[in-house]
């Protein structure tokens, strides 16, 4: 059996943490062991004093180390510290950390990794600090520490009826030795006062009163504003530009060509316009700037050629075999077998976070200061320092609040650009892209093509599955986020299974978008499973439960030399069955009398360690006009469920709404080597009027370590909707977005 190490999870490059160049392909429980692997650079010992400050008046300041993109990690990580610290939560203030990996460890927003990788370390910090406070009190009182207990922000010695506040003990506690966390006992979850309860967004007052908290809002004395124009054709270069005419425009201080860096995904060449105000820069770029571009070879490429090439490749022998079990051909021709063949496809997508790409930079005396909305700031600093030819230690990075990440800000092109421009002009510069530039210069969610053939036997059991996956890549290496693993469900659950792949080169820059790989693959897998369920004459939910009840075949061994930390995670059938059964119950699947024009669709997916099953109830008016009335989401993210329930519900509902956008209207077509769609009129996010009135979110606790929530609720949503459409109309949808097929929201 062959497997490939390059997987759809490969977005989380080790370089984001330690400046190395490896790809994180898989991970094992617990994730902090993975991130502690030598490939990620030297381990960092986290110290309580780096994260916790207690002043004599009892005020507690906790550091939130990760970038905040709307997942509310800014409060969640401090909740973990505060719980084991046994802090009075009302006395807690939260501060955003700057980028200081030597002090804070990994500071990343991506891969839904924050929960699994910080669940232990953040609580340990709190426990260590609590132990130091107890040690201080015990020393003051001349009693054994073991006789001391705590209530929120107080240490007690019951036998002598003495107590002291954390504030009173803070100075002395800071001088106590930091205990080995392995010697400390964590709280019993039943004693949690903070974890599992709603916690307020630390920035809520700033957000509702319009305080300048986002990257785009940064200002500095003497700051200039920049716009950066790159070739709309991917990989194109500047030949010449009418710089003098641009410089003659009001307010324009500088206009110059920036050469591409050695890594064009970090610094693509372009024309920088620097002005007293951003609108002046933008206006000059829109109305005056004329660039002669060398478009380069990608200019000949387009969606039409990709589509044709895919169909072509599907007819030929596949380029590689990702996994093979049993004998699909024999199973297809077995007597009584019902065979279904289908071709599925989905387009490139653009991330479109609502805050366009931006970064502010100040370069002075060989030192660089950055204010960046980045999901991978350490990686950005490494790339930026390299591009400028300076030492990383001469770079200071302040993490701003971020107006949406979705994976776009895992890459740091805007940071390298801003720094390069700032170095040239010698004063602070705020670089801001237009929305059009944001959509033209993305690392797009790759398009993909699946050519499927499956069979159920005479008893309605799913017995054979063949997928020839056609994607992008070269030399048997998939492009970024364009891969498919041999173990991707329903792999291992079907006795005759053939996962094949071919690829074609493309100049389109590709990258991770929320639930990379999964956000497209789930649509295909859960739709084709649905097709086979209907071919078998079985209820779609029951058919899935039956499939999940199969004893899975063994995982393929990882390629020789794969470090233990990178061995694959096996899909857990019983965990998925549990959430699927639960969503069936909660939605009233099969038990609800629905009007003739309304139906339910079900889908599940495992990604980022989370098991999610979702049901959509969809009304179909006049064949193509849709209203999603209600959605049920059931997720298993481990033993704690939602650490911050209000944020967990919000982000899960948001994932559903994003999934609806993927289904109906999101599509980037490529023509003459460039993205066609330029703004929201051509790339419509779901609107409030189109959103379901109810999205029921439920977390099923299981005896597993807590895992992340930023992504896993998204993948099941598109197929749940298209499966519901089939339930009502009998029309099977095999390509997205469905606006192209004539559908619209009611």
């Amino acid at each position: 059996m062959e497997t490939t190490l390059v997987s759809r999870r490969s977005f989380l490059r080790a370089s984001v943490i330690a400046g190395g160049g490896m790809m994180l392909a898989y991970y094992v429980e617990p994730l902090e062991k993975v991130l502690a692997a030598p490939q990620f650079g030297p381990p960092v010992t986290l110290l309580p004093a780096s994260f916790i400050t207690i002043t004599p008046d009892g005020a507690i300041t906790l550091i939130a180390k990760n970038p905040e993109i709307g997942q509310n990690i800014k409060v969640m990580l401090p909740m973990l510290i505060a719980e084991e610290l046994d802090a009075d939560w009302k006395a807690v203030k939260i501060e955003q950390a700057d980028l200081i990996p030597a002090k804070y460890g990994a500071q990343i927003a991506g891969g839904s990794t924050a929960t699994p990788s910080n669940w232990v370390p953040m609580r340990q910090l709190g426990a260590q600090c609590r132990a130091m406070l107890i040690a201080a009190a015990a020393d003051n009182w001349g009693v054994p520490a073991s006789e001391c207990t705590t209530t929120p922000s107080r240490v007690h010695h019951e036998p002598s009826k003495r107590s002291a506040s954390y504030g009173q003990l803070s100075t002395k506690a800071a001088s106590m030795p930091v205990p080995d966390p392995k010697t400390l006992t964590m709280k019993d979850p039943k004693d949690y006062r903070i974890i599992g309860k709603n916690a307020a967004n630390p920035d809520i007052k700033k957000i509702v009163t319009g305080k300048p908290v986002f990257g785009i809002d940064f200002t500095a004395p003497g700051m200039l504003y920049a716009n950066y124009e790159k070739c709309p054709v991917f990989g194109g270069k500047v030949i010449s530009a009418n710089l003098d005419e641009v410089k003659a425009q009001p307010g324009i201080r500088h206009a110059f060509i920036v050469e591409p860096g050695p890594d064009p995904t970090a610094l693509a060449g372009g024309v920088a316009i620097v002005a007293d105000s951003w609108y002046q820069a933008r206006h000059a770029r829109d109305n005056v700037l004329k660039v002669v571009w060398d478009d380069g070879p990608t200019a000949a490429q387009g969606t039409d050629t990709y589509n044709a090439t895919a169909d072509d490749l599907a007819k030929k022998d596949p380029g590689q075999t990702l996994r093979k079990d049993g004998d699909v051909e024999t199973a297809f021709s077995a007597p009584g077998a019902k065979v279904v063949e289908a071709a599925y496809s989905y387009p490139f997508l653009s991330h479109v976070p609502l805050e366009p790409q931006n970064c502010s930079a100040s370069f002075k005396d060989g030192k660089l200061e950055l204010w960046a909305p980045s999901q991978t700031p350490a990686s950005g600093v490494a790339q930026t320092a390299k591009a400028l030819g300076i030492d990383q230690k001469d770079v200071t990075l302040h993490l701003t609040r971020i107006g949406g990440g979705f994976g776009r800000r895992l890459t740091n092109d805007y940071m390298v650009e801003a720094a390069s421009i700032a170095k040239q002009v010698g004063v602070p510069v705020k670089l801001l892209w237009t929305r059009e530039q944001d959509m033209a210069h993305d690392f797009y969610r790759p398009a993909g093509y699946h050519y499927l053939k499956g069979a159920v036997d005479s008893s309605g059991k799913l017995v054979a599955w063949r997928n020839h996956f056609v994607s992008f890549g070269e030399n048997n290496r998939f492009a970024q986020s364009a891969g498919l693993g041999g173990e991707e469900f329903p792999s291992r659950f079907i006795p005759n299974f053939s996962q094949l792949a071919s690829m074609m080169p493309s100049g389109v820059p590709m990258g991770a978008m929320r639930a990379p790989g999964s956000n497209a693959i789930a649509f295909v897998m859960q739709s084709f499973i649905d097709e086979l369920a209907h071919a078998a004459g079985k209820d779609p939910l029951q058919f899935r439960l039956d499939l999940l009840s199969n004893t899975p075949l063994p995982m393929a061994p990882p390629p020789p030399g794969t470090p233990v930390a990178f061995a694959p995670v096996a899909f857990d059938g019983p965990r998925m069955k549990a959430v699927l059964e639960t969503v069936g119950e909660r939605s009233g699947w099969g038990k609800t009398k629905l009007p003739k024009d309304t139906g339910m669709g079900v889908a599940f997916h495992f990604s980022h360690r989370g098991y999610f099953a979702e049901v959509a109830q969809v009304q179909v008016i006049k064949e193509t006009n849709l209203r999603v009335h209600k959605v049920w989401v059931v997720g298993d993210i481990g033993s704690v469920g939602a650490i911050n329930p209000t944020a967990a519900e919000n982000i899960s509902q948001g994932a559903v709404i994003e999934g609806m956008s993927h289904v109906m209207g999101y599509e980037i077509t490529i023509e003459k080597g460039r993205a066609t769609q330029s703004n929201f009129h051509q790339y419509p996010p779901l609107r409030l009027t189109q959103a379901p009135k109810e999205i029921d979110v439920y977390f099923l606790k299981s005896d597993n370590p807590p895992t992340g929530l930023g992504e896993p609720a998204l993948p099941p949503m598109p197929p749940a909707i298209t499966n519901a459409i089939f339930a009502v109309t009998g029309k099977r949808i095999r390509s997205l977005p469905i606006a192209n097929l004539g559908y619209s929201w009611a």
Binding site: T209, I402, R435, E658, L688
Partner: protein
């Protein structure tokens, strides 16, 4: 060219070229960053302000068309975050990333000013132009209903001032 503006009750004179969008005058000349840039084409609603009490997209409002009128930004919606919309947004914990919320609140507050008891259909019509990429729509709707309740309770104590109409 010089233009006289009244922003959040304060007079300003700004010197910008004719045609400069009000959005960029508010942000970069007046230093009020609550109002956001999302699309520049009045498609997303991030830039929503009130002009004489009406919700207006400032990215496509040329400065000369805003001169002499009462402009309210999120910073001017209330003294200290005490507008019913702001209170409700906090109570319901609406934001995820928060970037769209200034525009959402300005559209919502304009709705409440003219319609103190909006139905779901009224909310649909008023809020359709405001995109939330993160998908907080269910909470936005809930918060508008909540704000209407809060405002109604306040009414029994004192009238709710419409924003500079």
């Amino acid at each position: 060219m010089a233009y006289k503006l009244i922003v959040n009750g304060q007079p300003h004179t700004v010197d910008v070229p004719e045609g400069t969008p009000l959005l960029w005058v508010v942000r970069d000349v007046l230093g009020l960053h609550g109002t956001k840039y999302g699309c520049g084409m009045a498609l997303c609603g991030c830039c929503t302000v009130h002009i004489n009490g009406e919700a207006t997209r400032s990215c496509t409002t040329a400065i000369q068309n805003a001169a002499g009128k009462h402009i309210t930004t999120l910073e001017g919606l209330s003294e200290n975050g005490t507008h019913p919309i702001q209170i409700a947004w906090e109570e319901i914990d609406v934001p995820q990333c928060g970037y769209c919320q200034a525009g959402q609140m300005m559209s919502a507050s304009a709705l409440l000013a003219r319609n103190p008891h909006p139905t779901d259909a009224d909310i649909d019509a008023a809020m359709d132009g405001n995109i939330c990429r993160c998908g907080t729509y269910l909470r936005i709707r809930k918060a508008i209903h909540k704000a209407a309740e809060i405002a109604a309770k306040q009414q029994t104590k004192e009238p709710v001032a419409a924003a500079h109409s």
